[in-house]
């Protein structure tokens, strides 16, 4: 009986997977028909086949990997800085009401400023370097990390802290490390996940102002100026797929390995 239920469940999953693949294929066919059959102008809408051959050309030129590398460096600078700043600030604000009262107004004023509005100062402070692109990504990523770490720490059940105290975990540093942080980890992880999404969105704009000769966003703009729209689409798709890949890391790897204990709780 249980086996039957299980296999039906799996079958459903398989069916759903196929449905998804069908939608993608259908989309590609529609795109090809519209682009090659109706519009017939690769500047306005390059067809999937054009994009695919553009992709092969770019691979041959050896440019793609360089762009990829440059973007990942920008992204890594921004995200790592956001983690190094966001998590400690979130912890301090979540743990102590006084620091919350002290820091909250500043953060609430800075937070609504769109990350792209920081570009002028990014250039002034860091020049046309990878760090200035990283800085814009940092601005986009740091606030979700702060807010989620903060709210994770705020909602640590008091009973865990008290149980810890009764078991000899009495120093603030130990209570944060052994009780509050693991209890808040699901929320912290959710914040990092949002942050990678926002950070990745800031990437293209952060690269547009010419911090280096390479980068996915930089190349996208470069080929637009050359009016090679099939190349532009290649970069758009790569940006999308990479963003998806980061999200998948969270959905599958981080959740399964670090938040294993929640599986039973959520279901």
């Amino acid at each position: 009986m249980e086996d039957a239920v299980l296999s039906r469940h799996e079958q459903n999953n398989n069916n759903n997977l196929w449905l998804g693949v069908c939608a993608i294929l259908l989309g590609l066919v529609l795109w090809e028909v519209i682009a090659a059959g109706i519009i017939k102008n690769p500047f306005i809408l390059p067809a999937p086949t054009d994009v695919f051959s553009a992709f092969l050309e770019l691979l041959q030129k050896g440019r793609l990997l360089l762009d990829f590398e440059a973007s990942l460096i920008h992204f890594a600078i921004g995200i790592i800085a956001a983690l190094l700043v966001g998590i400690p600030v979130g912890i301090v604000m979540g743990w102590s009401r006084r620091s919350d009262a002290f820091l909250d107004p500043v953060i609430e004023i800075l937070r609504p400023i769109p990350p792209l509005a920081w570009i002028p100062f990014a250039i002034i402070w860091f020049g046309l370097t990878s760090h200035s692109a990283g800085f814009v990504i940092f601005i986009g990523a740091v606030f979700p990390i702060i807010i989620n770490t903060y709210s994770g720490f705020r909602s640590v059940p008091r009973i865990f802290v008290e149980a810890g105290k009764m078991l000899g975990c009495t120093k603030t540093r130990d209570l944060i490390r052994y009780i509050a942080f693991p209890a808040a980890l699901p929320s912290v992880a959710a914040g990092i996940r949002i942050a990678t999404g926002v950070g990745w969105m800031c990437l293209v704009a952060a690269e547009l102002f010419g911090v280096s000769n390479n980068g996915l966003g930089m190349a996208l703009w470069f080929y637009y100026n050359l009016h090679q729209m099939d190349y532009v689409v290649v970069y758009m798709i790569l940006l999308g797929l990479t963003g998806l890949f980061f999200d998948m890391i969270f959905r599958y790897y981080i959740d399964r390995h670090f938040l294993k204990w929640r599986i039973g709780e959520v279901a």
Binding site: I159, F160, E162, A163, G164, K165, M166, L167, G168, C169, T170, D174, Y178, I179, P182, A183, L185, K260, W261, R262, I263, G264, E265
Partner: protein
């Protein structure tokens, strides 16, 4: 050893209208070494407040608490506690929950797993060693909580209605198990409950508190031989006596 002395304990909380709600009013009593004492009273009589004071989780306004002659201030590893709600750390496996206190003491991994394993055996949950709390039933969780509190080898075990959320059968089973554990580990136990049945089944003495302000209404010595039979006439008699007193107390209110 594990002799607990409560002297002249006072606790009150501010009320919205500026007056103070007196929760514990000059409370004094003693618990002998290896004694099992139940604190019994209806909800709101300050049972939990009292236990939190003994545990060092709150500070009393006045009065003092001594354990083996030493005045208690703040949490002390000599005192273990089992909470009413589920207090296991959900991100740690059963064995890591039990070993938590040992880890805080800086005991190495091999040794603390060895000790924790013994307490896991004591509560009969060896096969759930690597499970997470979310995979356990309510009764099992509280058994792990007992093992976790015992792993630091406290002299005094405080229990705040630990079986309150469980169904009747599980509850009876855990009561028996707790008595066996006590037989084996020889701890002094202060157990809070609002169930007369539970108190009569387990205790050497029952301290009945009056509600608001919490004062000692009466202390019963339960002389029934162990193991006790809930269905025996003597059991019913003691139970009735305690129940009558509690009913009286609440009708005065």
């Amino acid at each position: 050893m594990g002799k607990l002395e409560i002297r002249d304990l006072n606790q009150s909380f501010p009320r919205d209208d500026g007056s103070r709600l007196v929760v514990l009013d000059h409370l004094s009593f003693e618990v002998k070494d290896k004694e099992f004492v139940c604190i019994l009273g209806s909800s709101g009589c300050g049972k939990t407040t009292l236990l939190r004071l003994i545990a060092g989780l709150d500070e009393a306004q006045a009065g003092s608490i001594f354990l083996d002659g030493e005045e208690m201030k703040g949490q002390n590893p000599k005192i273990g506690m089992v909470f009413q709600e589920y207090s296991l750390f959900p991100w740690r496996t059963v064995i890591d929950n039990i070993a938590f206190g040992l880890e805080m003491k800086g005991i190495n991994k091999e040794e603390r797993y060895h000790i924790a394993g013994q307490y896991l055996d004591l509560v009969n949950l060896s096969q759930f060693r690597n499970s997470y709390p979310s995979e356990l039933s309510g009764g099992m969780r509280q058994r792990v909580a007992v093992a976790r509190a015992l792993a630091l080898d406290p002299v005094l075990l405080l229990m705040d209605e630990p079986f309150g959320a469980l169904d009747a059968q599980t509850r009876n089973m855990l009561q028996k198990e707790l008595l066996d554990i006590r037989e084996e580990t020889k701890k002094t136990i202060v157990f809070i409950t609002h169930s007369v049945d539970e108190a009569v089944f387990m205790s050497d003495r029952i301290i009945v508190l009056t509600p608001r302000p919490g004062r000692i209404s009466r202390i019963f010595e339960v002389m029934l031989p162990r193991p006790r039979e809930r269905t025996s006439v003597e059991f019913a008699q003691v139970r009735r006596e305690v129940l009558d007193l509690i009913n009286q107390n609440s009708s005065i209110q």
